[in-house]
């Protein structure tokens, strides 16, 4: 019983960063009805820029954090201009394919930047843990959860209390009506990309700081985890992304404990498969299922 609770707590903590990755996918999907496959690679390259400074100049960890966030946002804007802005509105497939190509491009850049297989990634957190009754809480995971909660709270305020947040929600509801109302969709989409890149960079940093290492494959990993968490929760749904991320974290933690490390990733795919068969819209995606299907037909 204690193991079960401990695993669930660990899963929720790690799942909070999956939730942030899923939010990155779901906001772009909600606004554009397109999937940005380069999202994970965007975060990876931003973090590589921070790692590069860390490796060559031994800069302070805060500089690494700042560089990671700023570079991820810049790479995110690059991806938006190249794969989304430049591609016609009704060509969702072209966006997806070009974002895949840019993903490969970003990986190549990272490999040229730092050619070895893995590099150590500096941790902001004093690696320590403390006991709460029979349970063990790791310092870096608590930081991860706090960061995720702060990001989700800030995002909620931004979407509901600001003019651009409302514009973003209006565009996801009806791009056509938003255009009639004088909302500049191109500008709002660029802002949305910068925003999700920021959220993704925070998630990426929290994960890498916990792992204390980085490889070019972090992009692939982040894209998989984010996409799976988004699909579990329901595409285009923000609460769904959070729920999907937490669920994925908890299931992975239990699989790892009870079945072994090699079953951790497998459990995620089994979970996704079961969800797609039983409830294809995701946990909270039922409401927009019709629109989703339309979007998939376009994709």
């Amino acid at each position: 019983m204690i193991d079960f609770v401990q695993n669930t707590v660990d899963g929720i903590m790690f799942g909070s960063s999956y939730a942030l990755l899923a939010i990155g996918f779901t906001i772009v999907f909600g606004v554009m009805r397109r999937i940005n496959l380069a999202f994970g690679a965007t975060i990876m390259l931003g973090a590589y820029a921070g790692t590069w400074l860390h490796v060559h100049y031994q800069v302070h960890v805060l500089v690494v954090v700042l560089t990671t966030v700023v570079c991820t946002v810049l790479v995110g804007i690059y991806v938006e201009r190249l794969c989304f802005h430049a591609v016609r509105r009704d060509a969702a497939l072209a966006s997806m394919v070009s974002s895949f190509v840019v993903w490969m491009q970003l990986e190549e850049v990272a490999i040229h930047l730092l050619p070895e297989r893995t590099y150590s990634f500096p941790s902001l957190i004093v690696a320590g843990s403390f006991e709460l009754g029979p349970f063990l809480l790791r310092g870096e995971q608590i930081t991860m959860l706090v960061l995720a909660a702060v990001m989700v709270g800030a995002l909620h305020l931004l979407l509901h209390r600001t003019r651009y947040g409302l514009a973003l929600r209006a565009i996801s509801e009806s791009p056509r009506a938003a255009a009639y109302m004088g909302i500049d969709a191109a500008w709002v989409m660029l802002c949305a990309f910068a925003l999700v890149s920021l959220v993704g960079a925070v998630a990426g940093y929290a994960i890498l700081a916990t792992d204390e290492q980085i490889t070019p494959f972090f992009g692939l990993w982040a894209t998989f985890k984010g996409l799976i968490a988004m699909m579990l929760g329901g595409m285009g749904s923000l609460p769904g992304a959070i729920l999907g991320g937490l669920l994925l974290g908890v299931v992975e933690a239990h699989a790892q404990w009870y079945l072994g490390n090699e079953y951790k990733d497998l459990s995620a795919y089994v979970l996704l498969f079961a969800m797609l068969v039983l409830r294809p819209g995701g946990l909270l995606g039922q409401r927009i299922l019709g629109r989703e299907e339309l979007a998939f037909r376009r994709v």
Partner: protein, 243 residues
């Protein structure tokens, strides 16, 4: 105020608007009437930048606005209320109105004081926090109109505002448009309800297959025989000429 010269709009080789010229002067209600598919909506969409015209000139208050993106046209003071309402169903009524005022707000959203709302749209004033999808058809049309006004236009483009409404509700819409003119708004109105439209408008253009075939003061058009036989049925023109 608005001048359109030789406007041509085509979709994949098919000419929807074929050399239309029209003019709207400040304070007028000008109407474009015509059958379905005559090209009325395409004219409005070309003015508001939703579609880009092939050729032709669109000038608003002396400056050319042809080919500008929609948000730039709205910034100049032209707002279109599209056919089919296109309200944001999952957003609240208040959020629909705020989204329409996108170009007039600060970074942080604030509930705007809307002194005219209760007077013009009594049905909406008490439902500001309801999701827009819960509104009835008539209320949704009122919300679409309220959104158009919320964007603070000087020229309002209305596309079939009475479409799908009961006679009573459609009378309300026409009364509202007349009140908006009294408040100094200029209106370009596209309608299929020819009788009511001509009773309300100052001038009108009749559009057939993308060309203007008839134009003039609305009162004169009402007694035009061609128009009467094509659009107003076979009843005697005398029965609806205003006294």
């Amino acid at each position: 105020m608005l001048e359109v010269r030789g406007l041509v709009v085509s979709y994949g080789g098919l000419r929807a608007v074929d050399g239309v010229s029209l003019e709207v002067r400040p304070g007028e209600i000008v109407s474009i009437i015509g059958m379905n598919g005559a090209g009325k909506t395409s004219i409005l969409n070309a003015i508001s930048g939703i579609v880009s015209p092939d050729t032709g000139e669109i000038r608003f208050e002396g400056a050319s606005i042809g080919g500008l993106p929609p948000h730039a046209v709205v910034a100049r003071g032209i707002v279109q209320v599209p056919e089919g309402r296109l309200i944001f169903g999952t957003l609240s009524v208040e959020e629909n109105l705020s989204a329409a005022a996108h170009q007039h707000g600060g970074f942080v959203l604030r509930r705007r004081a809307r002194p005219n709302l209760r007077g013009l749209f009594p049905a909406l004033a008490d439902k500001l926090d309801r999701p827009a999808a819960s509104l009835s058809g008539g209320e949704a049309q009122m919300l679409a109109l309220a959104r158009g006004i919320e964007a603070e236009p000087r020229l309002l483009l209305l596309d079939e505002p009475s479409l799908g409404l009961s006679p009573k509700l459609s009378a309300d819409v026409f009364a509202l448009i007349s009140r908006l003119r009294d408040q100094g708004l200029t209106v370009l109105l596209v309608e299929q309800n020819v009788r009511r439209t001509l009773a309300l408008a100052d001038r009108a253009y009749v559009l057939e297959s993308g060309r203007i075939t008839l134009q003039g003061p609305a009162a004169e058009l009402m007694s035009d025989e061609r128009l009467v036989s094509n659009y107003l049925g076979i009843s005697s023109p005398a029965s609806f000429v205003p006294a």
